[in-house]
Symmetry: C2
Subunit: 344 residues, 2 copies
DNA sequence: CTGAAAGCGCTTACAG
DNA sequence: CTGAAAGCGCTTACAG
């Protein structure tokens, strides 16, 4: 191939200086309109594109954001959390809308990402999409802060208030889930999911759940809270354990859809009907929720909005504007597993 | 923040020239081992990272690949094809493994991507993950070829043999799906999916399907082939139409899992049992397939391998090495909807 | 409104 | 084994 055209080639063709070409292509009003348009036409004709490396080097920013998805290394490769994938989609879109490029990477806890993206000028800022409570890499976050790297984390609020965190309002999610169950007349509502501080997102959902119980004069029975991580099999096991206890219950609020799907399998195995005998509400609105049988009532996190807010906040941070953490409200999606019996 | 360290700062600290620093950091054997290690230690201590923009500008390559996911604009934003997401995961991993960065972008058919990524030196090559037959943007591909852009497309083989395409072997997938159904003793096997040249992937699956029928002395009944696009509702509709025809059938091969899930819903509505009355095989092995009830027997595309081959091929292309298109074999995943009745 | 010139931070021939 | 120097292709003060 003929070597790529540069601004000098355009300048030569247009009979102007290279500086004028540069100005014209950035649509600077300093350049005579007619000249500007002529130059732009020539550039287009020659398939000329500004060299990003040169322009970034000169301006010292990259117009690129990095999205680092921190994987749980124990996870199967193919089992990326579907919620994350949905976030990936919305972040990609939001980034593009702002005229930025997006670098995507999966990272292991062990690797050295904390000092790579912004320092090498690959990206102007970093979005961290991680699991759990970030405890395990708290010191990496500290290091990022120390180096004045621009970053935002998705999820629960971080201990260190300087860390900008954006997340969905898990407390409110738990609230509306259990409120819905209570409105359906359910009195003994089990909670499946880790309620410890190891899983702050799940715990907030649990706290919202408990709040509604108390407000409605229902007692919070610790025996109705079963540990579960966000997998189908863990949900199955938790429901089995719950049934083993022999305590009566008429509803389950599962901390994630996968847990709910597993629980439904256990209930079905025991001949318990959903929602007649036990109503279920899940969390996340993953695609499986729609196609489950019965379809799953769930709490939907607004990933579209979340992506926009994350990107927006990060860009503000980069520009040195004022930003603060934010909680994004969630919505109840009513399906057959609780509260929408008539539909098939 | 103190402005970022440069190689000159390191040179100053190490008492050597900037050139030596540059060589040492690239681990050049030209530099005395001891000096090299000392410089590397200092760089690490100062959190120094080579500026990518500068080094890319100098070397004229970006060590970055671009992944462009071409969206069907009619699709709901949130409904990115789960198969694509899985590919995204494997491509991300494979790219990182090769020491490259990955730029990800969703693109509309209408936009101007064809002349953007490589021309601006953002990426050394492009991976196109698209829908259907690429007919609609054939001219864009031509343009890419014309400009000697390095790119590889995922999916069906392209008319223009210069286009490097990597895809799963849809013909073989159709083959093993229908072979499995035939082995289960099924005789009247319907096919749900577009069999026209508009959907070359679906058509190849259909052709494999037909081949097996013929080889087993079963006749190919055109009335048992129903149009469907890859959505649950389209699968539902197709199955309804099939039932309306009143033709007996004892199995369905659905061109995608979503179609299969929709078809199962229709069958259930009509009181038809899966797999007893009608066995079903889907295609893709999306997560829903595992959790469907009955769980769905399906054809799995090896996305892990596919991602690696795509990245590998593209890098070869960039390096000017010999490459050719490739078909990746698929696997049958047997579940309850056909051939695995005992398990629950 | 336009041009000549400096400089972003590297890599790599060239010279020693 | 090391250093001085050129140059990758831009952007932008500076001067006119």
């Amino acid at each position: 191939m003929a070597s790529k055209a540069t601004s000098i080639d355009i300048a030569y063709r247009a009979g102007v200086s290279q500086s004028t070409v540069s100005r014209a292509l950035r649509n600077s009003p300093l350049v005579n309109l007619e000249t500007r348009q002529r130059i732009q036409a020539i550039a287009k004709e020659m398939n000329y594109k500004v060299d990003k490396n040169a322009s970034n080097l000169r301006t010292q920013n990259s117009h690129t954001l990095a999205l680092l998805i921190c994987e749980d290394p124990t996870n199967d490769d193919s089992l990326i959390n579907p919620f994350f994938l949905s976030m990936l989609g919305s972040i990609t879109r939001a980034t593009a809308q702002q005229g930025y490029d997006l670098l995507v990477s999966f990272q292991q806890l062990s690797s050295d990402w904390h000092a790579d993206y912004e320092d090498s000028n690959k990206a102007d800022g970093i979005i961290l999409l991680g699991y759990g409570d970030y405890m395990d890499y708290a010191h990496k976050l500290e290091k990022l802060l120390e180096q004045n790297t621009h970053f935002v984390i998705w999820g629960a609020e971080h201990n260190n208030k300087s860390v900008l965190s954006i997340g969905c309002d898990n407390h409110q999610g738990g609230l509306i889930a259990t409120e819905h169950l209570v409105k359906q007349g359910r009195k003994s509502i089990a909670f499946l999911g880790d309620a410890s501080s190891r899983s702050p997102e799940f715990r907030d959902r649990y706290l919202g759940h408990c709040e509604v119980l108390k407000n409605n004069g229902l007692k919070v029975d610790k025996r109705l809270q079963l540990e579960a991580i966000s997998t189908e099999s863990s949900g199955f096991d938790a429901a089995e354990q719950l049934l083993d206890k022999g305590i009566a219950f008429d509803a389950i609020f599962a901390a994630s859809d996968l847990i709910a799907i597993g629980a439904m399998r256990a209930l079905k195995k025991h001949g318990i009907n959903v929602p007649e005998d036990v109503a279920i509400v899940g969390y996340d609105d993953i695609p499986v929720a729609t196609f489950a049988n019965p379809s799953l009532t769930t709490i939907k996190q607004n990933t579209q909005l979340a992506g926009e807010i994350i990107v927006d906040s990060l860009l503000k941070l980069i520009r040195g504007q004022e930003v603060s953490g934010m909680l994004i409200p969630t919505n109840l999606i009513v399906r057959q597993s609780c509260g929408n019996i008539e539909e098939n």
